[in-house]
Symmetry: C2
Subunit: 147 residues, 2 copies
């Protein structure tokens, strides 16, 4: 489940950031989006309701929230833009290389791997990206129907 709106907005307030309407709107969208939106996607969703909104502000706010540790950036396979995930518990992602959908995948082995890395790496680990890419079920069907 995603971090909810209260946690996102409170983290801004607590860190003494100003509560602008743009930031509030972006926090709402992130909390409500199960599909890990990119900066552009956030912008497109909010633009109709906030016509003056700029993409720069979306980037600024997302970067701020990343800095507070309440959302995580995930860069997709290949050329796809960075997606932002309000679910900060450790989990892997599955991305479809056809329709670009991005979904979560929970597994005990993610936890095990994280522990192993922390224990053996000699790195001060700050975060991780665990991405598997391929064809989702509906794109596999389309593929089969074509050939």
């Amino acid at each position: 489940m995603n971090t909810d709106y209260q946690v996102l907005s409170q983290s801004l307030k607590h860190a003494k950031y100003r509560m602008t309407p743009q930031r509030i709107a972006i926090c709402k969208i992130l909390a409500e989006s199960p599909d890990h939106p990119s900066a552009q996607m956030v912008y497109d969703m909010l633009k109709p309701k906030y016509p003056s909104l700029s993409l720069t502000t979306v980037y600024n706010t997302l970067e701020t929230l990343v800095g507070l540790g309440v959302i995580s950036p995930r860069h997709g396979s290949g050329d796809a833009p960075t997606r932002y995930d309000a679910n900060t518990t450790p989990h892997a992602h599955l991305q479809c290389i056809r329709c670009n959908k991005l979904r979560d995948f929970d597994s005990q082995h993610v936890t095990d791997l994280n522990k192993d890395v922390s224990a053996r790496a000699g790195y001060h680990i700050i975060g991780s990206y665990l991405l598997y890419y391929g064809l989702c079920e509906s794109c596999q069907e389309k593929e089969n129907n074509k050939e």
Copy 2:
């Protein structure tokens, strides 16, 4: 260990690609580079010896080798460019956010996670990126000396 030069070049020949000097040189560099070079890094390493080489050709060749499944693209944390890895056995990566170094991390849990994803996801998995980012040992020391 990296896939060696023979395997890379033979995969091109076997797939009926023409053996140009540029492709041969790029295969050699990939086989010999333990540091997972980016397209630009490959270009910089080869430019002195092949002054006419273009970055476009490097991108083309890397893309071809990715298509043949003998190297894997790995996009780093944040804004870092894509790195290409001639080690195609499943393993995780550790990237230092300070010096940008990228190294391998082998773990039984990677294998376990891969199996779990294949078994439960409903995706046709094509590949994966498993990246942990943080501070490497030498950058941790520099950090400590400063503060």
